[in-house]
């Protein structure tokens, strides 16, 4: 279980998402989302890796939401939480009353929901027997159990406005090492590798721009 920096989680999340054929701008959102969760003590890297394992290999567009419908659903299951979250963040849909069907790793919606919380309220993100409360300052404690949070698919996901609970305290993001399971890290790394270009003698000589002696 290597200890990673948050920056590594974000960077590898970005590269792995790109390796899983997400467009660059969405891959950036994916890396940020994993970091956001990890900074709050949640297994963001694992969730992202599990999402990407389900999405990779297919055209990303089929997992984007058909937002004219209710609930939002994908052309081909599952619905991508990063794409839905980005749309929500972009002002698509009503964050105070939204339903989504068949969302992979629905906890990955949380970082995006945090961007659209109306003043003086909080939003409740629900699926199956799980509810996450997100206030103006972020994710509110207490959190549901990890098993409920980490479901493969949120069959019926709902986002609704909720009164701001007085007792609830936002989780304070922390800087520090994140323990990422080796299998997760290897899977992210394998996806990230798809974005790298293998070296050839020609590119080695040209790409880095060597030439002059540097041994003086």
């Amino acid at each position: 279980m290597p200890d990673c920096s948050l920056n590594e989680v974000q960077m590898y999340g970005l590269r792995a998402a790109r390796g899983a054929r997400m467009p660059w701008g969405l891959a950036e959102e994916a890396g940020r989302a994993a970091r956001w969760l990890c900074a709050r003590g949640l297994p963001g890297a694992e969730w992202l890796q599990r999402l990407l394992a389900r999405l990779e290999g297919s055209d990303h567009a089929v997992h984007a939401p058909l937002t004219a419908e209710s609930p939002w659903r994908a052309t081909a299951a599952p619905l991508c939480p990063v794409t839905c979250g980005a749309a929500l963040s972009d002002g698509i849909g009503n964050p105070q009353s939204l339903r989504l069907a068949g969302v992979a790793c629905p906890a990955l919606l949380a970082p995006f929901v945090a961007r659209v919380v109306p003043d003086g309220h909080c939003l409740a993100l629900r699926w199956q027997d799980c509810e996450l409360l997100i206030g103006p300052d972020g994710l509110l404690a207490p959190l549901p159990g990890l098993a409920a949070l980490g479901v493969e698919t949120g069959d019926e996901v709902a986002l609704v406005k909720a009164p701001l609970a007085r007792a609830a305290a936002p989780l304070v993001p922390r800087a520090g090492a994140v323990a990422v399971p080796s299998a997760t890290w290897q899977a992210l790394d394998a996806l990230a590798h798809r974005t790298y270009v293998p070296a050839s003698d020609e590119s080695r000589a040209r790409g880095a721009g060597a030439g002059a002696l540097d041994n003086d």
């Binding site: 467009p23 701008g25 939401p65 790298y196 040209r206 721009g209 003086d216």
Partner: protein, 571 residues
């Protein structure tokens, strides 16, 4: 906020130079260090806060291998540079990132390491990328000797003589770093951990602190080896001569994408520098003391340019022209010219047509130099929370997006990316071998489908083209649902709309791109000097040349900050 803490009214300033002038690679690639550069702001702070540095460990054997620790103590925090010195085969000594062994390796430790920390670091730091750091480390770095100069200095000191100043001037450093990693790389601490500390709040402060301490180590090492070789005869280096030693650095394409990946941060750097210039240009009268300080800086710069060595033909020609331009500038600025109204502005406007870009930008540095009271506060404005710039505002109507692109990316809309191969004949990629950015030839090399998103102009132009299919009041969020591939470009457009100096207004994949222009810009903000291109994609520079050593910080006095220009330091 108390009244005492209320912001002062900023000094008057003329309008800033427009981004269309400043954000061109040909200009950015001609930047020189200024008093806002990070090395200089770091040392000013360390001096003002009476930092002390102590070598708390020195276990270097006579063969030059072992470990050492330098502890820097400030008012609130301590930082320790942990050094490991190695013996390597000359064939292994390469500056390129593919190297696996180095003459010395370093970590900047947050606090004071205990023996267990040192054991852990000894097992990992020498491996660099192949090892693993923890959140207790802020910076990971390594360096190779300039064998030629190191051996010369060692030999001379062992003979009881001082090294030849000409040879020191020729090379400028005993060791050069080949990478200085921070901000979470290879497991070191994320920037959030330290960004709240005033001494490290500015960009790259921890990295600069590490390099400054590495410089002290290189001199201690050579003196130590001289004593080991000739215990009875060896001498220490003369202080003035020692000052002429900086730390070298070899930098390649790995650094190039930084400015593209951090547009809002780039804006803060550029805006600080441009604001400094605009404040100086607004000064109504130049007092004698300022004129003298300007003249001294100019004389120092001329001396520096005279000693600026490079084998690179393009840069050599530029240095020759620069030397001539500085002579012209010297003549112009004399004979009472600066006694007129708004003299600095007059001088700058004259230079715009009379001098080449290299000299114009050096003049910017020289104009800023004597005006620390007007500009030094801007050093605190060179960072920002980039998270605040990440979210896309999906409510923008397409009309606004298009107007924004027309204003900030006219240069990109004018390029013919579809019709002209030269407009996109390059592509940026990450090499599988070293996980580093590289530049490829799109039509000759494989891998273009794995291109990194640095074709900023081409991609924004594509967004603009596709946006034409939408009604002008359609929201950007809708457009991005249809065209998710434009999300990256849309974000850039919005950042550029908020931060005018965020975007480099040049084609980064064109046949005529000179990648080292990107490096030069960033390195000038670090405070690097003696920019020495070794090809169009990697350069050598010198850092902290002329700067006080840790044991000179306390006694540096009022002329403490005058170390950049050599005729002042060679007192």
């Amino acid at each position: 906020m108390t009244v005492a803490n209320a912001p002062r009214t900023p000094p008057p300033a003329l309008p800033l130079r427009p981004p269309g002038v400043v954000m061109r690679l040909a200009r950015m690639g001609a930047f020189h260090q200024t008093r806002l550069s990070f090395m200089r702001t770091l040392l000013r702070r360390l001096a003002a806060e009476h930092w002390s540095v102590e070598r708390t460990r020195w276990r270097i054997a006579a063969d030059g291998t072992g470990s050492a620790v330098y502890e820097a103590r400030g008012p609130h925090h301590r930082y320790s540079l942990v050094c490991f010195a190695h013996r390597i085969d000359p064939a292994e000594r390469t500056d390129r990132v593919i190297a696996e062994r180095w003459d010395a390796t370093f970590a900047l430790f947050d606090g004071v390491p205990d023996e267990a920390d040192l054991d852990r670091l000894a097992a990992n730091v020498p491996l660099q990328e192949a090892g693993r750091c923890s959140q207790s480390e802020l910076v990971l770095s390594r360096a190779n000797k300039s064998v030629r100069l190191f051996e010369h200095v060692l030999g001379r000191l062992a003979e009881g003589r001082q090294p030849d100043p000409a040879q020191i001037a020729e090379v400028g450093y005993l060791m050069r770093t080949t990478a200085v990693y921070g901000n979470g790389k290879f497991g070191v601490a994320d920037r959030e951990r330290i960004a709240v500390r005033p001494e490290l709040a500015g960009p790259f402060r921890a990295e600069m602190l590490a390099v400054w301490l590495i410089r002290a180590f290189t001199v201690d090492l050579v003196e130590h080896l001289a004593r080991a070789r000739a215990p009875d005869k060896a001498v220490a280096m003369d202080r003035d001569l020692r000052r002429a030693l900086g730390v070298g650095n070899a930098t390649g394409l790995g650094m190039a994408p930084f400015l593209v990946n951090h547009p809002a941060l780039l804006h803060t750097w550029m805006a600080a520098r441009e604001t400094a210039l605009a404040r100086v240009r607004a000064v109504q009268r130049a007092e004698n003391a300022r004129q003298q300080a300007f003249a001294a800086a100019l004389a120092g710069a001329r001396q520096q340019v005279a000693g600026w060595r490079t084998a690179d033909a393009r840069q050599s020609a530029r240095i020759e022209r620069l030397a001539r331009d500085l002579q012209t500038l010297d003549a112009r600025a004399g004979n009472g010219y600066l006694d007129g109204p708004r003299p600095w502005d007059a001088l700058y406007r004259w230079a715009e047509s009379a001098l080449d870009t290299e000299a114009q930008e050096l003049l910017v540095s020289l104009l800023i130099e004597p005006h620390g009271d007007l500009v030094d506060g801007l050093g605190d404005c060179m960072s920002l929370d980039e998270e605040q710039c990440f979210r896309i505002d999906g409510t923008w109507p397409v009309q606004r997006l298009r107007a924004s692109i027309e204003r900030d990316y006219a240069w990109a809309l004018a390029a013919d990316f579809a019709g002209t191969r030269n407009a996109h004949s390059r592509f940026w990629y990450v090499s599988e071998e070293k996980l580093e950015p590289r530049l490829g030839e799109r039509f000759d090399e494989p891998g273009a489908e794995l291109e990194q998103p640095y074709a900023t102009g081409r991609d924004v132009a594509a967004l603009y083209r596709d946006s034409a299919a939408f009604a002008s009041n359609t929201r950007l969020g809708k457009l991005l649902l249809v065209f998710p591939q434009h999300r990256h470009a849309a974000r850039r457009v919005q950042v550029a709309a908020r931060f005018p100096y965020a975007e480099i207004r040049d084609n980064l994949v064109g046949a005529d791109l000179v990648p080292i222009d990107l490096l030069r810009c960033k390195l000038s903000f670090f405070g690097a000097t003696r920019f020495d291109p070794r090809s169009d994609r990697w350069v050598r520079i010198t850092m902290f040349q002329g700067a006080p050593f840790p044991d000179e910080l306390a006694g540096a006095g009022t002329d403490f900050d005058d170390w950049v220009y050599p005729c002042r330091t060679a007192r």
